[in-house]
């Protein structure tokens, strides 16, 4: 009997559960399902529905099919946004991972008494208000009277323009701010990963002669793959959700040069009152996020927990 149950596996075990117990299990799932339906599924469906309607000057809405999508895709700003988002993701995600990883490695392996201090200091920008960060960085970038200029003048360098006021530089200037703000998060993820590394593997590697760079690159980095995958996934989603820094520092300008999906959707929906194209843009972002996330899970796997803690 026992052998049969083992062979039949968990599916068979579920089949044999009494109906009352199954209903109880569904009941436990009900609150989460309700929250999901009310706060996630319904708003998504509502926005998707809105993307098929246009609002006329007299205030009435009418069904427009895919017209909003055609309008959005034909808008040159959309392609500026796509370019900016690509730049944002391609630069910020690996740079944050690299700096965060290096910081985590040195803090965890080469600091002792000041470990908590360094962890806190590098994590501080993550928990600082974006409004404060934006104000400070606008001052840092300001030419002549700015904070950076105060230091640069000692080496004879004069900033003639603000990088956030230059259409060619604005997006890179914002990317730097984003990296500064979020590197602490990457660091924390890697610290968690390093803390969970099985010490017997590291000891074995040391016994085999792995030290320093070799130990880091050939043992620690591969074992931190789950943290890296998590950061990649979160990085892509975070890139698509970018809004406050850009809104507060450049408003997507000058002349739309630093526009991102968040600011573009905000302008269309709330400033211009064109909720139809704003909704169409939101649906496009949702689909892009979904496709990229699925791609990552399919190609890199879904093992996102630290190696040491993964359940068998």
């Amino acid at each position: 009997m026992r052998a049969e149950a083992v062979r039949a596996g968990p599916a068979a075990a579920i089949e044999r559960r009494p109906a009352s117990r199954t209903s109880t299990l569904y009941l436990f799932a009900l609150p989460a399902t309700l929250l999901f339906v009310v706060f996630i599924a319904y708003p998504i469906l509502w926005v998707a529905g809105q993307s098929f309607y246009v609002r006329s000057g007299s205030g009435t809405s009418s069904f427009a099919g895919l017209a909003n999508y055609v309008t959005v895709l034909g808008d040159p700003t959309f392609w500026i946004v796509v370019r900016n988002m690509l730049l944002w993701g391609v630069i910020t995600i690996p740079v944050q991972m690299l700096i965060g990883g290096v910081l985590a490695y040195f803090i965890e392996r080469h600091t002792h008494a000041l470990r908590g201090f360094f962890r806190t200091m590098f994590f501080l920008p993550v928990v600082t208000s974006v409004s404060v960060i934006s104000l400070v960085w606008v001052q840092i970038y300001a030419p002549y009277y700015g904070i950076a200029q105060e230091y640069l003048k000692h080496v004879g360098f004069v900033m003639m323009t603000s990088p956030i006021g230059d259409p060619k530089m604005a997006i890179y200037a914002l990317v730097i701010v984003n990296i500064w703000q979020w590197t602490g998060f990457s660091m924390l993820m890697y610290i968690a990963g390093i803390a969970n590394l099985p010490s017997e593997v590291l000891d074995a590697a040391r016994v085999d002669g792995a030290r320093g760079w070799r130990l880091a690159m050939h043992v620690i980095v591969p074992m931190l793959a789950p943290a890296t995958k998590s950061l990649l996934l979160l990085g892509v989603i975070g890139t698509l959700q970018t809004f406050p820094i850009v809104h507060l520092m450049t408003g997507g300008g000058p002349n739309r040069a630093s526009e991102v999906f968040g600011t573009f959707i905000f302008k269309q929906s709330f400033v211009l009152g064109d909720t139809g194209s704003g909704a169409a843009l939101s649906v496009i972002v949702l689909v892009v996020a979904l496709v990229l996330s699925l791609l990552q899970i399919v190609t890199l796997g879904a093992r996102l927990t630290p190696a040491g803690k993964e359940r068998a």
């Binding site: 006329s56 000057g57 007299s58 205030g59 104000l135 606008v138 001052q139 970038y141 300001a142 030419p143 002549y144 009277y145 900033m159 003639m160 323009t161 603000s162 990088p163 956030i164 006021g165 230059d166 259409p167 604005a170 809104h247 520092m249 450049t250 408003g251 300008g253 000058p254 002349n255 739309r256 040069a257 905000f266 302008k267 929906s269 709330f270 400033v271 211009l272 009152g273 064109d274």
Partner: protein, 428 residues
Amino acid sequence: MRKMLFLATTILTAVLAAGSAWADEKEVTVWSWFIQSTMDKSIAAFEKAHPDIKVKYTYYNYSPEYITALKAAAASGSLPDVIGLQPGSLTQQYRDNLEAVNERAEKEWGADWARKIFPVNRKQMQMGNPAGDKNYYIVPQESQVLCIWYNRKIFEKLNIAAPKTYDELKAAAKALTDGGYIPMFQGAADGWQNENVFLMLANQFSPGIVDKAQAGETPWTAPELVEAMKAWKGLFDDGIFQQGALGAHAYPTGAQLFAQGKVGMMALGSWWMQESKFPPPLSEYVQNMDGFDFFYMPPVKQGNPASPPVGGIDIGYGLTKNGGKNPAAWTFLAELTNGAGLQEALNDLNDLPAFDGHSPKGDITDHVKEMSTRFMTDLPKAENQRFASPAVAEALDNALAGVAAGSTEPEAALATVQAATEKALAAQ
């Protein structure tokens, strides 16, 4: 037993009395981006005059908080009774959620009530209404006149006079820069400040031309507007604006630097006077506005006059459909825009009145009174500063930034504004 009965009766009476008092007290809900401290004074004055009405005010930052809150509340039918509005696009976005105030205003202030409002405000009140819709959905509270403020103490120190020609303006900017000051601070990362300066310039070339262009009566590519756009670029190239202006914000950066005496000039408006009423410590320049005075943009081209006053409604309020069901809401709106509430705002020098016949009272110096009088003299002849369509304003913001950055030529930039205007007019 008797004691118990007495106690129960007393409690019951007290509860019923409290309930009845609570039922008698009416409540008005108000949302706006209007400065909290001044609104509190307006509400206090109102509640003193109307003790049976309680006003609940919610302050929001304008963007993104206020405009997203309005959108969400409008979609769910939960707008408050009274909402802060700007004329034109913001009012039009919520027109379906607003009550036309014509009848109430006529009853409150008489048949000629609209004539008591300054002409530029009156025009802006119906801006963007569908053809034939003569209703008013916004009641203006305050007006503004745009101008160039300058720090007269710094000017005096550097021996500069308020400029009357473009050459004098350039010379003043150079003297300020050489003296270690920011010449004219432009927060060119903010579309609104760029629009304001462009309106000063365009109305100098041809008064009212921007109004004609947004109504489709004149193309945006008209020579006067192209000239104005070139003059706009000149303000950057000629060192009038500070270097890196395109990455700078007027608030809080520019305003703080200006108040601290690190900036020579700044294109703002009559609302700048309110700085002197902010809580201390105030700089020697802001104290009683001692350090400041204003002028209008000097002629940027030979033969032009100085810029005429440009302005209109600073802030107005709308009565929502929800507010239409609450008689106390209109009572408050009327007092706020043309009564005790407005007087408190004026005493705080928040801005100029939208209705004629009001002036600030209280602790105000002769210098402030003199400047306020000059603004009030100019307000009746002010050109319109507002846009009916947000898409046109947005296109102009982008055009101005593109030209300033040197990435677009004036003609091409204005062609994009023309395209946006045609699209907006077609949608109407």
